[in-house]
């Protein structure tokens, strides 16, 4: 039973894994390059080598400020990545309010928040993990019940990285403010894809990561609303007004500024063209493949993300066959992660494991074309069919009758 798919992929490939990381825009690369060579100076230095760099950082800070709709550029703190921003926000809130020993978050957060919270539990903190329903939505009543003067911080993601589902963070931030609780959002997936206007929200802190919006890896931002009580994670220098010590990663900061400017300019394209491509891909696959469905909340999600569960087959196998054709996507399957843990997001939404293992995420960017999408629509159905032929849950053209009963392996 040899595969019928020939490896005639083009060398460039089709990249539909933009929620994992993105290509650095050529304009961004061009903007940052001088900061490795003639503009190598330390922005803290008085002399002319540092002076221009200092001014470039100021401009970058304003470009980030504009994309986030922050009131002041001093509210932008450059960090090394989204994870550092998340850790800084949560640990700062705990340190600044030692009497408050509780945290509110959700079961579907990114490990950057979830793993930190689990670790903090070992130190005696109480963490409220808000549950989600089958579409990945939280129960706002459960959230309100958890808010109290014991809570140091609420940390809730703006958009889910696996399904793209959006949480009502602006509303949740208002509720937190009314209860006198700090509010942080991990907006790593949302920034650049959905409009954000922080000055008109009650959000106190926000994390973003450069490499998710066509800037390089190794640069992030913590938005810190003016007046929010703060304790730095890294001390040891006056950089970022003493809120994040360490010599500035000037080339990457300049790059992130440029990337934010481009994201701002392309925001409408995300909402229109990228969304249309995503919808085309989703419709094409759903029409051609039996026994598959979209996970998360299709009516309220990022415009670039589509997560489809292919029942009775496994995600890593799908990815390997896609990769052979030069198509890059990702999966919630246990076997694709180093930890062998199935996706906590799919488990939280109660997706049956015969479907959760076959979840495949396609995440687009403004660099994708209609031709690419059409080629993916063509490639997916034969791959799914080929793997189903090997599956003990599948027989001919459909699943076996009562699949969970027909095949009951002894698990060990």
């Amino acid at each position: 039973m040899a595969t019928s798919i020939s490896p005639d992929a083009e060398p460039k490939g089709i990249y539909l894994d933009n929620n994992a990381t993105t290509m650095v825009s050529p304009e961004v690369v061009e903007t940052m390059l001088p900061y490795f060579t003639e503009q190598f100076g330390n922005p803290s230095s008085l002399h002319r080598f540092g002076d221009k760099v200092g001014r470039a950082l100021k401009q970058a800070r304003q470009q980030v400020q504009a994309l986030l709709g922050a009131e002041l550029d001093s509210e932008i703190v450059f960090t090394s990545c989204g994870t550092e921003s998340d850790s800084t926000a949560i640990l700062s809130a705990l340190k600044a309010q030692p009497d408050r020993r509780e945290i509110i978050t959700t079961v579907v957060e990114h490990p950057a928040v979830l793993t930190l919270c689990e670790h903090l539990e070992k130190d005696g903190y109480k963490v409220h993990y808000l549950k989600v329903d089958g579409k990945g939505r939280i129960d706002i009543q459960e959230y309100m019940d958890a808010l109290s003067s014991n809570v140091a911080i609420v940390s809730v993601m703006w958009a889910n990285n696996e399904t793209g589902t959006l949480f009502p963070v602006e509303e949740m931030a208002e509720l937190a403010r009314s209860a006198g609780v700090m509010f942080h959002t991990d907006a790593v997936q949302a920034v650049g894809k959905v409009p954000i206007d922080l000055k008109n929200t009650a959000i106190d802190m926000l994390s973003l990561s450069g490499h998710k919006l066509h800037a390089p890896k190794g640069i992030g931002v913590l938005y810190l609303r003016r007046g929010t009580r703060f304790r730095p994670l890294l001390r040891g220098g006056h950089q970022e007004r003493g809120r994040r010590a360490g010599t500035e990663n000037s080339a990457s900061i300049v790059a992130l500024g440029k990337a934010c400017e481009l994201a701002m300019a392309n925001m409408d394209e995300e909402k229109t063209r990228v969304r249309a491509l995503r919808d085309r891909l989703e419709r094409g696959i759903l029409a051609a493949v039996p026994n598959c469905f979209v996970t998360g909340d299709p009516t309220n999600r990022l415009p670039n993300t589509c997560n489809i569960a292919f029942e009775y087959i496994e995600g890593e196998a799908i990815l390997l066959l896609l990769n052979k054709l030069g198509i890059a996507a990702s999966s919630g399957s246990a076997c694709t992660s180093g930890s062998l843990e199935p996706s906590h997001v799919m488990r939280a939404m109660d997706i049956p494991f015969t479907a959760a293992h076959g979840t495949t995420r396609f995440s687009l960017s403004r660099y994708n074309t209609e031709d690419e999408i059409d080629r993916v629509i063509e490639a997916v159905p034969p791959i799914v069919a080929q793997l189903r032929k090997l599956s003990p849950y599948w027989d001919g053209d459909g699943p076996v009758a009562e699949p969970e009963k027909a095949f009951q392996p002894a698990y060990a």
């Binding site: 039973m1 040899a2 595969t3 009775y312 087959i313 496994e314 995600g315 890593e316 196998a317 990815l319 390997l320 066959l321 990769n323 052979k324 399957s333 246990a334 076997c335 694709t336 180093g338 930890s339 062998l340 843990e341 199935p342 494991f353 015969t354 293992h357 032929k389 090997l390 599956s391 003990p392 849950y393 095949f407 009951q408 392996p409 002894a410 698990y411 060990a412």
Partner: protein, 291 residues
């Protein structure tokens, strides 16, 4: 992604013996809890010779699960059931030119499907005898259940002991936090608490010994050599240790022996090996002289 061998990829892209065998008279259905993969193995066995005439697999799983299933069927076709039962998961992994540590359970699943199919043929009920937990040590593929069981069975209380018994933590040491957490949990159940300072750090490598440990180790090395010297009616005693210089007295037949300097070299080599650092062993008469 995973670093699969060419053979794994080949068996995944072109699986052998996929699908159920017609007229199968031995069926094994097993799954792996650690990742949710599952496999149905169907065999056609010659009732007279117990030879496996044909084998087929149906797998719900990742690339290496499919490749392991394919490899298994290739290995066992033509074997007798008894011979097939001797196929280990390592044989499956070797056939595939290796599997990543995290994926070894795929080969275990293959072996278990085979055992289940043979039991099914013989009218027996196959019972799985091992439980698999979360992978803790990636260097040596040791899971949490094995570590926990070993701690209980042997009353272990330090990370070093866990490494000695299971190899877990003996490689890159990145999993020591995980091992400590298991120790903390198991010891707490026994009403004890985990004490990270209970054991000295492992002597291997560049770990620095305390003065006392270093002196003891030198004494032990010399004690170990003495019986050899005593057989020749000689002996040696430690006089002093001054940084890298170790002073000894050669007594008995060794005293004045023409081979004394060779013997000193032997003692020095032994101490160097035991300490993991370079030292000079010299006769006590040399004390106080500039080195």
């Amino acid at each position: 992604m995973w670093d699969y061998s060419e053979t794994v990829k080949e068996h995944f892209f072109n699986p052998r013996n996929a699908g159920a065998v017609a007229e199968a008279n031995a069926i094994g259905e097993v799954g792996s809890l650690s990742c949710g993969d599952a496999l149905r193995l169907t065999l056609k066995v010659d009732p007279d010779t117990e030879t496996i005439l044909d084998a087929g697999f149906q797998t719900f799983g990742c690339g290496s699960a499919i490749a392991s299933s394919s490899a298994l069927t290739e290995i066992i076709k033509g074997m007798t059931l008894d011979a097939a039962l001797n196929v280990s998961n390592q044989d499956i992994a070797d056939f595939l030119e290796g599997l990543p540590a995290e994926k070894m359970h795929c080969s275990v699943m293959g072996r278990e499907a085979l055992q289940a199919a043979v039991a099914n043929y013989r009218g027996e009920v196959w019972k799985d005898d091992h439980e698999e937990g979360a992978l803790i040590c990636k260097c040596f593929a040791v899971d949490a259940v094995l570590i926990e069981d070993t701690i209980r069975a042997n009353g272990l209380s330090t990370v070093e002991e866990v490494t000695n018994y299971t190899k877990a933590g003996g490689g890159c040491s990145a999993c020591h936090e995980g091992v400590e957490e298991i120790l903390t949990r198991v010891l707490a159940e026994q009403g004890k608490s985990f004490d990270p300072t209970a054991a000295p750090p492992p002597p291997a490598g560049k770990a620095k010994l305390t003065n006392l440990q270093r002196i003891r180790r030198i004494e032990n090395a010399i004690e170990a050599i003495r019986p050899n010297l005593q057989r020749d009616h000689g002996d040696v005693e430690l006089v002093d240790i001054d940084g890298k210089n170790i002073y000894v007295n050669m007594t008995g037949a060794c005293s004045g022996c023409q081979m004394a300097s060779t013997t000193l070299d032997g003692i020095q080599q032994r101490i160097v090996e035991d300490l993991g650092e370079f030292v000079r062993v010299m006769p006590a008469q040399a004390m106080g002289r500039p080195a």
